[in-house]
């Protein structure tokens, strides 16, 4: 299931990772993801598998390590209501 930004959320890249902004309450989420995550991953066309593959290809990090780390991070972002994998 592809991820997308939740409604009213914007994201930008920073040197340390991604900065999410939620319009409803003007809250920020600082995600120290280094070079792993890119804003484009949340445009509605990337799922866990394709993101994992892309990170592995770009960074050389073994897929197993990414597969252990990425789902919990995605869950936290979903819990924080900055991303969603619900069908719009």
């Amino acid at each position: 299931m592809p991820f997308r930004l939740a409604d009213g959320v914007q994201v930008r890249r920073e040197s340390w990772g991604l900065l999410f902004y939620r319009q409803a309450d003007h809250k920020l989420s600082f995600v120290r993801s280094g070079d792993w995550l890119r804003p484009a991953y949340f445009n509605g066309s990337w799922g866990l598998e394709s993101i994992t593959g892309d990170i592995a290809r770009r960074t050389g990090v073994p897929v197993e390590i990414i597969e252990r780390s990425l789902p919990p991070l995605a869950s936290r972002l979903a819990d924080s209501r900055v991303i969603s994998n619900e069908v719009r």
Binding site: Q10, R12, E14, W16, L19, Y21, F30
Partner: protein, 339 residues
């Protein structure tokens, strides 16, 4: 959090004073607004600045002044900003609303409107904002209410109105709006009214307690240094100037924040430099990012406020390395039951 661990490539939000023209002459106006400044930016220049901010992915622009609705191109500029997906907040005195303005506000999910009101009664409000303004502001709020506009009423908390905060909250709620309270700071015209309008230690203590019990009240970054820990998660725990925010004035000068618009703090002018050049390289901005008042570092609450508001410290003591004189530790010396 420490800014050094999370440096930002651009501000999260920007305060943009689009004009110094204002039809009111409030006693606490942070920019001493009344008439437009010579050489205020043109619409084309503003669009160019917006393009830069959009490229940098600045999330929010907060408009103030002056009265932004008196700027002849303000609504076209607002529409242009919304085409870029940038969230806006318009701070208005509510007295010069037009049908077109209301229509623009109601038509965009990206705009928040904040109407300034400094008392729950005409007697209190008009002492600060001018005779007859209470009725005019309320009429403005009535025009905005019920139109699916994200609406708040903003009150600068002063000795005149702090006893009316509960009534202001109820007043805002009656229009489907939220109350936002802002800190009174000694900049602009407020330097002249500081002694009369500032809160005393006992009033600061009461305000701090009230804020702790009122999580629905909006404060922006106004009160992190005078609030007790219960409210910290609702806002910043440090001054955001040059770290998360900055201020553009009507002629394109860029300052650390709206309350620090003295020439010595100017980072540069947007007619001469790009916004990114100023944000990254201006000596004043680099200085502010490192600023941590020496005298505060041994304070047990240092991690909670990192020195508080430098604008208040500077304008009262002339020294950026001074602690915020209204911080919780300062007024607690006069009201020992506070902590």
């Amino acid at each position: 959090m420490k800014y050094a661990d999370w440096p930002l490539s651009a501000p999260v939000n920007i305060t943009w004073e689009i004009t110094h023209q204002c039809n009111l002459k409030c006693a606490h106006c942070l920019s001493s607004s009344s008439v437009a400044s010579p050489g205020e930016l043109s619409l084309d220049e503003c669009r160019g600045i917006v393009d830069q901010l959009a490229d940098l992915k600045v999330f929010e622009i907060n408009f103030g002044g002056g009265e932004p609705l008196l700027k002849e191109y303000f609504l076209p500029l607002l529409r242009y900003i919304h085409t870029k997906g940038i969230v806006t907040c318009v701070s208005t005195n509510g007295t010069v609303l037009t049908d077109e303005a209301v229509e623009v506000f109601a038509g965009s999910p990206l705009v928040n409107v904040q109407v300034s009101l400094d008392g729950a009664t005409a007697e209190v409000n008009d002492r600060i904002r001018g005779r007859g303004t209470y009725e005019r502001i309320i009429r403005g709020i009535e025009r905005l209410a019920g139109k699916n506009i994200s609406l708040s009423i903003n009150t600068v908390v002063t000795s005149y109105n702090y006893a009316q905060l509960d009534r202001l909250k109820a007043l805002a709620a009656s229009y489907g709006a939220r109350l936002r309270v802002s800190r009174f700071r000694p900049s602009g015209r407020a330097r002249e009214s500081w002694e009369a309008l500032k809160l005393g230690p006992e009033q600061l203590r009461e305000l701090s307690g009230w804020l702790s019990g009122e999580p629905s009240i909006l404060t922006g970054d106004s009160f992190f240094s005078i609030s007790q820990d219960g409210r910290r998660h609702l806002g910043l725990d440090m001054c955001g100037a040059c770290k998360m925010t900055c201020c553009i004035d009507p002629v394109g000068d860029v300052f650390p924040c709206a309350f620090m618009q003295s020439p010595e703090f100017c980072g540069g002018n947007l007619r001469e430099k790009t916004f990114k050049e100023i944000w990254d390289n201006a000596p004043a901005f680099r200085y502010f990012r490192r600023l941590e008042p020496e005298s505060c570092k041994k304070c047990p609450r240092f991690e909670n406020c990192r020195g508080g508001c430098p604008a208040v410290a500077y304008f009262l003591s002339g020294d950026l390395n001074s602690p915020d004189p209204e911080c919780l530790m300062s007024w607690s010396r006069h009201t020992p039951q506070a902590i």
